[in-house]
Amino acid sequence: MAEVVFAYKNITKRFFGVHALKDVSFELERGRILGLVGENGAGKSTLMNILGGVLQPDEGQMILRGAPFAPKNPLEASSAGIEFIHQELNLFTNLSVSENISISRFPCLGTSPLINKKKMRESCKKLLRSLNLDISPNILVENLSPGERQLVEIAKALSTNADILLFDEPTTSLTAKETENLFSIMRSLRDEGKSIIYISHILGDVKSLVDDIVVLRDGQVICGGPIEDFPIHRMINLMVGREISNVFPERHSHAKDRVILEAKHVSETGIVRDVNITVREGEIVGMFGLMGSGRTEFARMLFGVDPYKEGSITVCTEPLPKRNPQQSIKRGLAFITENRREEGLLMDYPILENIGLVSLPDFSSRMTRMVDSKRLFKQANEIATSLRLKCNDLKNQKVKSLSGGNQQKVVIGKWLLKHPSMLIMDEPTRGIDVGAKYEVYLIMEQLAREGTGILFISSEVEELMAMCDRIVVWSQGEVMHEFEKSEFSQERIMRIAFRQSLEYSEEEKAVVNGQD
């Protein structure tokens, strides 16, 4: 039995009463790589933030090298020998490689404030050599490729002699070759006795890299053990397989023939490639993909917030001008953004003002441009009632005093006041409870019945399968596959999103059958 370096013991964390983590326990052994997998929102980041001292657990404790460990801030975690390598790098692009590595502890000439550049370069060179990175210590980070930057970040983590390293999606911006190099470095670090936690959505990588695996689902550890026992399809099954009953309303297809929105060959360098999507009247089209797969970016292009280089977008057969959200709104598009706190709502303003925000021109007199607040209130009130918005006072109550679900209804109400013909919803049910989700689904069903086309972006396969007429699966900026309702299968959708082939290979089939 190898030595346990670090352990989570019964960690529980709640946000506003909702469990983000529930009684999580697992151990990290010396000289092992532990893979942590789970869907978006399964609790991986919360778990890492607790280890890094960014968040404190509500219950439970952590054990580091046999002693209780409760870091209050990132600095404490760092001085205890724990280093993070994040998806977003913490490098200073305007400084050189060697400066970045020693930014927290520059070696100085004697007691003077002058940096001992020679010493700094020497120790940097040594680190770079150990990582097989052939770059000059003097080069500015802004001139490095993403892969090289990732390695510099690792060199920075190693310079502090950390013995627990956390990699959070480190390969998202790396090429295949850079990824392979990173993995061989991680393996040699492991062989030197460092312990590594590796978080990734790319299950093939997890499979080939890690020694042990822990699967998280809904904030709980579902299963864990040596990687040999976890073929990829089993990981997927464990990640998604939850019991669902009565979470979704009954759906009927209302799809008509008339095409409302059509995107043809839409491409933008480095973001999306050759995307074709149509949405018909009364149709709910789902867009599934992992975080960073380009779904949100594409939605922003549709609505005219972000530019795209090639292709065309038409609404009701007429081309939609690029980069012009005002026109998009005029043409009947509505966009419920992913991040309602920052992009969807004026949190410190009353509900009425939020609902009226987009439609103010419709309620202002043509001559004086004064807002007819009586008419606005009347219609906003009707919308609020039809959405079953729970509030005390439409006019005076601030949006931030509402629950997450009701806030989301305000965002939806804001757009319904415009009577859109095409509604783009980006993660409309994220962070709201099951009851509120159900009501959002009801609203969607209602709108579809009335003929609104809906583009429904979500990271939860179940809700897409329950609500959509069609599901489009994204991966790395491309539409990989389109599923008709009759073909919906959680596993198949996940396989596509994870870039696996649609059908099982013979070998995997044998394993599945064997288990059955």
């Binding site: 400084l95 404030p113 002058l114 940096i115 090429t175 790395q476």
Partner: protein, 326 residues
């Protein structure tokens, strides 16, 4: 790929490109522009704005701004003059005290920005008004004259050939360049300006660093004020007003970014300062209407700030994260 490299190079060296363009332009318009005497004048005039611009560069590197420098110059010059004329204080002690006043104003800015969390723009706009207000209160808006012991300094030469103001300017530049380029403090300052959140995570005491830049800016504004009075010997109520604009312009022309993290004292800000003086001298040589000159000046500064903004977004675009895998 090569095209983006060329664009990137031009973007990152926009200062030098602009400098050469303006230099050639005035040379073509007025051949007399290329004389040693003219360049000596340009350097001499550049010294006081240059000193202030160095302090401004420190502030800009953190992504802040200091609008109070012009008034700081005025108040410090007034106090220095009053101490010499009315308190009969030796020149050296009076200068030291006036420099301390500069430090004090900088400290007020620093306190308000890093402790009270006020926006630098508003904070320094307020201290700008307060500092000038104090100066006007002390003088009753009557001009202050300086004795010959002060004005004669401007004719003194260090090592027999460097005019004092140019010597002070070059010393400030040399010290600042070493501090920014070679010390722990300087390099961490660049880190703070590049990414404040990451700098905090790296354990850098960001607030202390940011605070120090306003103190440096205040000190150098006071020094700039003193250098000016040695040259003109008289301070009236409008002294130094608008100079913050020139200092910011010099730093930005020199390649400093208003978003922080980018900029150098040498060659950057020095080049920017000389460029401003060069444009001013050039406009005179080219016989441009004196009332049109400020408009052209502002136009050029607008161009520089515009390039800065384009540069920042373009560089970001070139370095944007790539979702697609080739």
């Amino acid at each position: 790929m090569d095209k983006t490299k060329v664009i990137k190079f031009t973007m990152k060296n926009s200062t030098a490109v602009l400098f050469v363009l303006i230099f050639i332009m005035f040379g073509l318009i007025a051949p007399r522009f290329f004389t040693v005497k003219n360049f000596q004048n340009i350097m001499s005039n550049a010294s006081y704005i240059g000193i202030i611009a160095v302090g401004m560069t420190f502030v800009l590197l953190t992504g802040g701004i200091d609008l109070s420098v012009g008034s700081t110059m005025y108040l410090c010059a007034v106090i220095c003059g009053k101490l010499i004329n009315e308190a009969r204080m030796p020149v050296l002690s009076a200068v030291m005290i006036s420099l301390l006043v500069g430090v004090l104003i900088g400290s007020v800015n620093a306190f308000a920005i890093t402790r009270l969390r006020l926006v630098p723009f508003i904070t320094t706009l307020i201290t700008q008004t307060i500092a000038r207000g104090f100066g006007l209160f002390i003088t009753r808006s009557i001009a202050v004259n300086y004795p010959d012991s002060v004005t004669l300094m401007s004719t003194s030469k260090v090592l027999g050939f460097i005019p004092l103001q140019i010597f002070i300017f070059l010393s400030v530049v040399a010290i600042a360049a070493i501090v920014l380029g070679k010390t722990r403090y300087g390099r961490q300052l660049y880190a703070v300006g590049n990414d404040l959140e990451s700098a905090k995570k790296a354990g850098i005491r960001c607030d202390r660093l940011i605070a120090s830049t306003y103190i440096i800016s205040g000190l150098l504004a006071a020094l700039g004020g003193f250098v000016t009075i040695t040259q003109i010997g008289r301070v009236n109520a409008g002294f130094g007003s608008g100079d913050e604009f020139d200092a910011i312009a010099a730093a930005v022309l020199g390649g400093a970014s208003l978003f922080g993290g980018i900029g150098t004292v040498f060659p950057g800000t020095v080049l920017g300062t000389v460029m401003i003086e060069m444009i001013q001298a050039g406009l005179v040589f080219a016989n441009i209407d004196i009332y049109i000159q400020p408009i052209i000046m502002a136009g050029i500064i607008f161009l520089a700030v515009f390039i800065d903004s384009v540069r920042t977004t373009q560089i970001q675009k070139l370095e944007r994260r790539n979702i697609l895998k080739a």
